[in-house]
Amino acid sequence: MSDKLKQLSKEVAKGRMSRRDFLGMAGTLGVALPFASSLLSQSVMAAGPKKGGNLVLGLVGGSATDSLDPALNASQVPFHFGYCWAETLVETSPIDGSVTPHLAESFEAEPGAKVWHFHLRKGVTFHNGKELVADDVVKTLQRHSGEETKSGALGIMRGIEKVEAAGQYEVVVTLKSGNADLPYLMSDYHLVIQPGGGFDKPDAGIGTGPYQVEVAEHGIRYMGKKYAGYWNDSVGHADTVEILVLNDQTARMSALQSGRVHMINRVDPKTAKLLARMPKINIENTSGRGHYPFLMHCDKAPFDNLDLRLAMKNAIDREALVKRVLHGYGSVGNDFPINKAYDLFPTDIKQRVYDPDRAAHHYKKSGHSGPVVLRVSDAAFSGAVDAAVLYQQQAAKAGIKIEVKREPSDGYWSNVWNVQPFSASYWSGRPTQDGMYTVGYKSDADWNDTKWFRPKFDKLLIQARVELDQGLRADLYREMGQMVHDDGGAIIPMFNDYIDGVSEQVQGYIKDPAAELSNGHSLIRCWLA
């Protein structure tokens, strides 16, 4: 029986049988579903990728105002298309989140993690035929860090003092102060290497990636054709890749159902279960680092009072929010921005639970009276208004009155978030704990959006950054996580899953906690059966 099943699983791998039929067959043969599933994925991987075809992605997050200039990449469509035509020095592994070599064959730090050497892979060419050399890397990094740059990567480039070439294939990066996580920063999607750094024409769309830019109609459609001189055989299986900009939720769903596209991003949690029931469509949900916080400003009344902050944190029913707002596609948060998707995640910080009595106790102690105004909009995250109203009901049981104020979606990020003392927000997370704390929790961070200023925390952060001993580093991160959990201004009830819709024709899909659709690599990692 098992032989029969193995044979069938190979049929699926070759695309002669659908996954659903296979699992149904396995059921009638009396085989448990998890076993059948794992058998299937083994066969698919063993059969190896199938080359050819046109792989199509339907995405929300593109507009006529997008550009091919990687420095200006801010939304999903340029993010996904960027990985088709260009590449970064290093990448992060979908399996354990560690840094893996890419355009840089290897890299190492001098003691103190202040000076880093990147050794480039030889024989890699750009789409214009020019070979990739150290000068291209140096210039690219310089373009993202100049004073006048508009690059979204400026924040992470600020710690870099200088970048130099050492010969044709080595790049030396010198930091202002040590950072053991520098390689992670180099995997940022803005920092794709362009010939000559892209100084002469930033939006030329020429890179080293598996696909050459054929069509780039911003806000409408993108197309890439396989680059014949591409160096890496393990990605880029389809002959052509295409991205259709489908910002409308229903348009995206119907395009997937009718077979016009093979994969879509951001399936609405409300309809994900219905979509999963459709034949020929799978829902792939990946728990990532993104989370939906309610942010209190610790420097403004009434949130400068620790007891009030604790009251608010204890008055939220996290389980209920995950169930009702995320429809189960997510996990419970613990009031610090790190979850198990991060390396060195501290597992021993006690999970805060819904406790109206304790909330009432802290609330009384805080001496606060009158309603607390919470400003929300669905611009923060889909379902933010619902979440706030649920929170309002939950807090009412502890005697805390929350006034939910709906703000317009337009201008939410400039007028409400980081401005008003209590608001809903969204954080997409960062590749490392250091990255997350540096952009959002360090005293002098631009988006210290809880206005939480703790010199002790900053000291720990810098200490952990240069610590190359993983054990000691984990201890430091545990202490920092505990500090944010106990004292910080962020109420983090939930981490959301990325929910992708994938057609059965697609194989080789790998869940990657870094971002949706296999961290933007679905077009190059997957193939058509």
Binding site: S63, L72, K150, G152, I220, R221, Q257, D410, W413
Partner: protein, 323 residues
């Protein structure tokens, strides 16, 4: 007919044109003021949530957002008059080029929808007149009125559900591009075209029916009947030409709707027209593009209305041949 200013028809056309132009200037002020009042900031929207203050300041200075509003208005409207629509703030590309392809897409969809809807509406109107108050008349009226009563997004989704998802006859996304074979383009726009046709059909059909019925009671129609002409010939040759002026008005109004009112349909079917362009740039606070698109919409609307007025008057012999 000699053309001189004393001719009331020429006077009227000149007057209407001048008024239309004044109206356009007024609208330009309103558009400018409206876009000024939008909350948020273009630099912030371009760089997104992850913008640093330095990057924001650099971008704002580069875009000239620090100049006063009236200076920017005159610069902008002056440029418009010379045919220079300016450059997009967010992408830096030329707006005229950007709009040209989108506008031609919108006109393509509107044109084909009109080509289907107008003859169909007039034909159905005539049929309804012929079988007036009978079953066929009631059936046509009821179905077209039902279609117009449904919001267009609902019609669009219904069509997608049946024709794209269930039967897989037409694509649910109507993305068309340059170099696409004509037949593929037609398949691509089939569903949005059908949606628009259903939305505008009833209005034109009812007006045709009413206008023709109005002249059907005239003595000359009776004469034609007594001459023994076939009923369709009477409707088509005798009644219809005399009912043409209200029909033209309603047809042109609906055509204006097909051009400027299709934002929702374009979004549902992901059609790369002006509506989507406008929505994209509003969310990015790309004011020059929004203003240019708004002004173009306004100009088309004013022009078509003017055209309808003038045609209605020309169709009226009493105005055409003044004493």
């Amino acid at each position: 007919m000699t053309v001189s200013l004393s001719n009331p028809l020429v006077m009227m056309v000149a007057k209407r044109t001048a008024l239309g132009f004044l109206l356009l200037i007024a609208i330009s002020v309103v558009i400018f003021a409206g876009t000024e009042m939008l909350p948020g900031d273009v630099a912030q929207s371009i760089l997104g949530q992850s913008a640093t203050p330095e990057a924001l300041a650099n971008l704002r200075a580069e875009m000239g957002l620090n100049e006063p509003a009236h200076t920017r208005y005159f610069n902008w409207f002056g440029g418009m008059l010379q045919g220079d629509l300016g450059t997009s703030l967010s992408s830096g590309s030329d707006i005229s080029e950007m709009i040209a392809s989108r506008l031609s897409n919108t006109l393509f969809l509107a044109g084909w929808s009109a080509l289907v809807a107008v003859p169909l509406a007039i034909f159905l109107g005539m049929i309804a007149v012929h079988y007036r108050d009978g079953f066929i008349d009631k059936f046509i009226s009821m179905t077209t009125l039902a279609a117009i009563s449904l919001p267009e997004f609902f019609i669009g989704y219904l069509l997608i559900m049946f024709f794209a998802v269930t039967w897989n006859l037409f694509p649910s996304t109507s993305i068309i591009y340059e170099g696409m074979p004509f037949l593929d383009q037609m398949t691509a726009i089939a569903l949005p075209c059908a949606t628009l046709t259903l939305v505008v059909l009833a209005h034109m059909m009812r007006m045709t029916r009413a206008a023709i019925l109005n002249v059907m009671s005239s003595p000359y129609v009776e004469t034609a009947e007594l001459k023994g002409l076939s009923p369709f010939k009477i409707i088509f040759h005798h009644a219809f030409p005399n009912a043409i002026s209200p029909i033209i008005t309603v047809v042109v109004l609906n055509m204006a709707y097909l051009v400027v009112g299709v934002v929702v349909v374009e979004i549902i079917f992901v059609y790369p027209g002006m509506g989507q362009l406008l929505v994209d740039h509003v969310t990015k606070r790309d004011v020059p593009v929004v203003q240019a698109a708004g002004l173009i919409f306004a100009a088309i609307y004013i022009f078509l209305n003017m055209f309808a007025d003038i045609m209605a008057i020309i169709a009226n012999p009493r105005l055409r041949h003044p004493k």
